[in-house]
Amino acid sequence: MAKVRVLVAKPGLDGHDRGAKVVARALRDAGFEVIYTGLRQTPEQIAEAALQEDVNVVAMSILSGAHPHLFPKVVNLIREKGMDDVLIIGGGVIPETDIPALKEAGIAEVFTPGTPTGDIVEFIKANVK
């Protein structure tokens, strides 16, 4: 089976990338092919990168509170580009009360502070198409 390809992305202006980098490395160590976008990506750039890199998973991280706006925007753009099977997940400082709306918008799972990286690996393995 081909290696699962994951795009780890930082949408918006948030500069906190400790979590994104730790997760990226943990996913790589778990055997995935990982591409990290770096900071300050617009939703358009992330969707384009997902297409170009032909990824199976997009994992986004936001700690600035801009997730209600940016996460759904990325999902829409990815789907518009015809990537219906791409698994899209998110993480960061995200209040519990925001999670139902994010899932409604197409974020498959939201990982909040304190999540072991192993949980993210397991989730991807169980849900990637």
């Binding site: 918006g12 202006l13 980098k21 730790v22 490395r25 770096g38 209600p68 940016l70 209040p95």
Partner: protein
């Protein structure tokens, strides 16, 4: 007791330990020695290395009387939503006994974009207050006397613009610039290495910083022109030694840039300030504060040949570690912050922000902020920790640990010198990689259980989602854009155009100090985005390269 006698006693003790260990194995991740004795600091010369408060090498603190005269400044970092909302929070904090202000700006402001820029969508007013022009700054400090309060602004890439706005507000209040007290963070190197709100490439960024040093030394002499920050390096995952080493290496780079621009070390070094993290390990943190003062004093005296004692003092603002707050059982964070506060105070900080219990979940509520401020007041007035100066000095462990952290810091500083200085080390990704490796190790230690975080990987409980978190409404962005459009319609747009054209010309002449030109543009109500836009045109933008 002679060293021989101590050694004999220690040998006897060590023999007795063998049996105990066989029965009760020790925990992982502990300091290398279980016990410290006078032997561990027998090489440390008291007069040269430890000394007295207010005297070189300032290991015991930068002021002669420390908290016996005046407590540290209790400075709570705040700002969100609109200028009017933040102004309310500032006045609430001042009424509650906070002794200094600390402004948090939203991300568009920190990266030099106006609220109506498409890239700002979803971010306006979220992690701080949105400032687009002098008009917002006037509202932010409404009814706050800038001649009395000291204000710290967490602003880096566009620090010159925000400082100019502050000076312009003061002018309107009738307060001359030479009376203004406060700090701008203005530390671009750690933005490339750890925090991420850079705009321009390193060279023009360093020019802006030295322009500010020079301008303030003549016109705003009480202003701290930079807060050289280890806080964010630590938050990004570094160790204690890396925090002070990388930050002091950044400090060296700023001094070298300023000297190269023709400034004299003693003309600006006294206005340099630092920013440390207060992390969970209390004794390690105390040792870190002490070691950092000693290293900086030596750097200034031996490397830069500073002569004024003030130039050699590492004055420091501290914030408790945000990354150590847990989303699980958030009330436990109150205890963490109290211990971190104890560390900062025993470490001899000059000012302190204490985080609130709910900040792993959202921006703090007023109630949480009050508990965080009260934590400082309890440590100050009730705990006794502030009653004598540098109370842990002479502890075999703390002195040995101070020496160890100092040694590790010098090793890093030497290594960075070999690479060609902090700017080169950042451009090559060396500092970023060191920080990432430490962050990854920390995470793996937590996941393997080698490190215990209460409520996260041990003592977990089923919890209800927390209630009553602060939420910044999306309508803030809409309202702010409307305000901006109204302001632009009212101002003298010809004056704005002329000021921006003048600024552009100044940017193109490397020998020109940009501060007067930026101040001039700010006074015409040119926006932050317009001013930074001109600089982006001339200077270009920094592009980061990440090696995982």
């Amino acid at each position: 007791m002679s060293n021989e006698k101590i050694q004999a006693g220690l040998d006897k003790y060590n023999a007795s330990v063998e049996k105990a260990i066989a029965k009760f194995p020790e925990r992982a991740n502990l300091p290398e020695q279980r016990l410290y004795t006078p032997l561990d600091i027998s090489e440390t010369d008291y007069a040269d290395e430890i000394g007295f408060p207010g005297m070189y090498p300032f290991t015991r603190g930068v002021q002669p009387t420390m908290y016996r005269g005046r407590f540290w400044t209790m400075r709570m970092y705040a700002g969100f939503s609109t200028a009017a909302e933040s102004n309310k929070r500032y006045r609430y904090l001042i009424e509650s006994g906070a002794t200094g202000l600390s402004c948090a700006f939203d991300l568009p402001t920190q990266i030099g974009y106006d609220s109506d820029d498409p890239i700002s969508e979803g971010e306006v007013g979220k992690v701080g207050v949105a400032i687009d022009s002098l008009a917002d700054m006037e509202v932010l400090f409404d009814q706050i006397d800038l001649g009395k309060v000291s204000t710290s602004m967490t602003i880096n890439a566009p620090a010159s613009v925000l400082l100019s706005m502050y000076i312009a507000v003061a002018e309107k209040q009738g307060v001359p610039a030479d009376q203004l007290k406060g700090t701008i963070q203005n530390d671009i190197l750690k933005e490339y290495a750890a925090r991420g709100t850079y705009i321009f490439p390193p060279r023009p960024s360093m020019r802006l910083i030295t322009n500010i040093f020079e301008y303030c030394s003549k016109n705003v002499p009480k202003w701290n022109t930079i807060s050289i920050s280890g806080y964010h390096i630590r938050e990004a995952g570094s160790t204690a030694s890396q925090e002070i080493a990388f930050t002091i290496a950044d400090g060296i780079a700023y001094c070298e840039a300023a000297i190269k621009a023709g400034l004299h070390i003693d003309d600006f070094a006294g206005r340099l300030s630092f920013f440390w993290n207060a992390h969970n390990n209390v004794l390690e943190e105390v040792a870190k504060f002490r070691a950092s003062r000693r290293v900086w004093a030596k750097v200034m005296k031996e490397r830069f040949h500073a002569e004024k004692p003030k130039s050699m003092m590492l004055r420091v603002h501290t914030q408790t570690a945000g990354s150590m707050l847990t989303a699980q059982q958030p009330n436990n964070n109150i205890i963490r912050v109290a211990l971190q506060t104890a560390a900062a105070v025993m470490g001899g900080t000059q000012s302190l922000h204490t985080n609130s219990r709910d900040e792993a979940l959202a921006l703090p509520t007023e109630e949480s902020v009050m508990i965080a401020l009260r934590t400082q007041q309890i440590v100050a007035y009730e705990s006794g920790l502030a009653d004598v100066i540098d109370p842990l000095a002479g502890s075999y462990y703390v002195e040995a640990l101070t020496n160890k952290i100092e040694k590790e810091a010098w090793e890093y500083i030497n290594k960075i010198d070999e690479i060609g200085g902090a700017v080169a080390a950042i451009e090559k990704g060396y500092i970023q990689k060191e920080i990432q490796d430490s962050a990854y190790k920390w995470q793996m230690d937590v996941e393997s259980g080698a490190k215990t975080i209460v409520g996260v990987n041990k003592f977990q409980i089923e919890e209800e989602p927390p209630k009553g978190l602060l939420k910044v409404d999306a309508s803030v962005g809409v309202a702010q854009c409307k305000r901006l459009a109204e302001m632009k319609a009212k101002r003298d747009n010809d004056a704005v155009k002329a000021a921006l054209a003048d600024l552009k010309k100044a940017c193109q002449d490397e020998n020109e100090n940009l501060m007067p030109h930026i101040l001039n543009a700010v006074r015409t109500y040119a926006t932050l985005g317009e001013i930074c836009g001109v600089m982006r045109e001339v200077f270009g933008e920094y592009e980061a390269h990440v090696n995982l």
